[in-house]
Assembly symmetry: C2
Homo-oligomer: 287 residues x 2
């Protein structure tokens, strides 16, 4: 991989990295398309990173579809795929990790201790191996995006982070590799996440700016769906992830819930009526 | 600094970084000379890194001599000096840090909690800002060198770490910016560190390979110097820093002691009789 990067660099071409854990869906593909559009050369990494899974989480059964992934990436004319082994990324002697600090201890970080340490560490390693000019992440994992942006700023990394909007199923469910876990009933019930966000947006559009009122409505939406267990919902500042009292353009509503054993997350960036997802991302993170 | 680096890179010149906390002495100068010899362009950073000092340590009174340092570096014909402010390195929003893991929790890490986290974080930041091909560190801070080498390997950093042997005063005291703290009597008493290491080396040369026997002799040397308080002494594997039972070429004797409020460290790499310091470094770390 490092030789590939050196070749690209020697030709003064811009290099994009799309880090993934495989099991590619339309969300990933939108990242790849954006990467191809912005850079001359696009690298997609596929690595199911063990260090970002907790001991009781779904590392072993996380969906893997390497052949299908490679076919898709070939069709998309990606220049290189980097699919290292666990041993290559984490030799047994490895002790160093990246600690994102307090932003990694709330929300997903509170529910999944060590998750963002694992994410930040593997992303830094991938950056150092591939050395991209731009790296592409999805808005769906909003807190992850915040952690990665902090990583880049705090550690002075010479890479730009580009974020792409959430891609949804026709009925509104955010695309996720974990959606395949859902049985038919839970698949239907899972719509409560996007429905609660939509409800908050409607209220905000109607002039309600009090975050607590919006959260109340979101929780009510969940009350109407007994199959779903709400983990958390919050409306936060997009940089600090601190809860806000008043919703502003760029504020973000986060939601996480469980359907049976399947944990799903979703989010919404508030913006002016009719604003595009891209504008909202820009409002939130200047991305 | 990043523009300077880009210029150097565009000329395909090799770039050296010598990270220092200023208060330059002969030890630093040997690093700079080596850097100039191995690379086309040498950058010296001067930054008294607050995050590697504990709350009760000597950050505020750490020796600072910026004018003298710059004079010295001009005489040595260093191409650039990078002397950032604390705010430049650690903006208030900064939360991310590097955790070197268990090797940072023993010896100096046990006595100075958080020290190596601070060191690893600032060194990674300096690497990302300056982007050197080679970075130069002194053997005197042996555990630091081990932490930095792990950092580079574990995080796949595209930089080579070069180590330079300890530079000593005529009487054997390892050069250190902190030596200026010593009053006349403690300055004399401080020789107990190098004397204890010399004693261990003599015994090893005479055929004693039992680490515990050597350590006993080192401790005895300290018993004879009541002004010095031994913090720790150990003979370790140079990669893992785990204590060894049997001394081999490349094993390292570490020693730390206090003279009044001044804390000093020193070390010795065991090697074949008559072996140069450079060969010993190579035996220990392949540097």
């Amino acid at each position: 991989m490092m030789r590939f990067t050196a070749d690209v660099r020697s030709q003064a071409k811009s290099l994009a990295l799309v880090p993934t854990m495989g099991a590619l869906h339309e969300g990933h593909l939108s990242l790849v398309r954006q990467a191809k559009e912005e850079c001359n050369v696009a690298v997609v990494s596929i690595f199911v990173n063990p260090t970002q899974f907790g001991p009781s989480e779904d590392f072993a059964r996380y969906p893997r579809s390497p052949e299908k992934d490679l076919e898709i990436l070939e069709i998309l004319e990606v220049e290189a795929v980097f699919a290292p082994s666990s041993r290559e990324i984490y030799p047994p002697v490895c002790t160093t990790s990246v600690d994102p600090g307090h932003i990694a201890t709330v929300f997903e970080g509170a529910k999944r201790p060590g998750h963002f340490r694992g994410v930040a560490t593997v992303v830094l390693k991938l950056f150092n191996i591939v050395r991209p000019d731009v790296a592409f992440f999805g808005q769906k994992d909003f807190q992850q995006a915040v952690v990665i942006r902090r990583l880049v700023e705090d550690l002075n990394l010479p890479v730009r982070i580009a974020l792409c909007p959430i891609v949804r199923e026709a009925d509104g469910l955010a695309k996720s590799s974990r959606n395949v876990y859902l049985n038919a009933e839970d698949r239907k019930a899972a719509l409560v996440l996007s429905r609660s966000l939509k409800r908050a947006e409607e209220l905000a559009r109607a002039g309600e700016g009090d975050a607590e009122k919006l959260l109340e409505e979101m929780r009510k939406t969940f009350d109407e769906e007994p199959r779903a267990q709400l983990d958390y919902t919050a409306i936060v500042n997009p940089t600090t992830l601190e809860p806000v009292a008043q919703v502003n353009p760029g504020s973000v509503a986060l939601v996480a819930a469980r359907l049976g054993t399947v944990r799903l997350i979703d989010n919404l960036i508030f913006g002016p009526p009719g604003s595009t997802p891209e504008l909202r991302l820009q409002l939130a993170l200047g991305a």
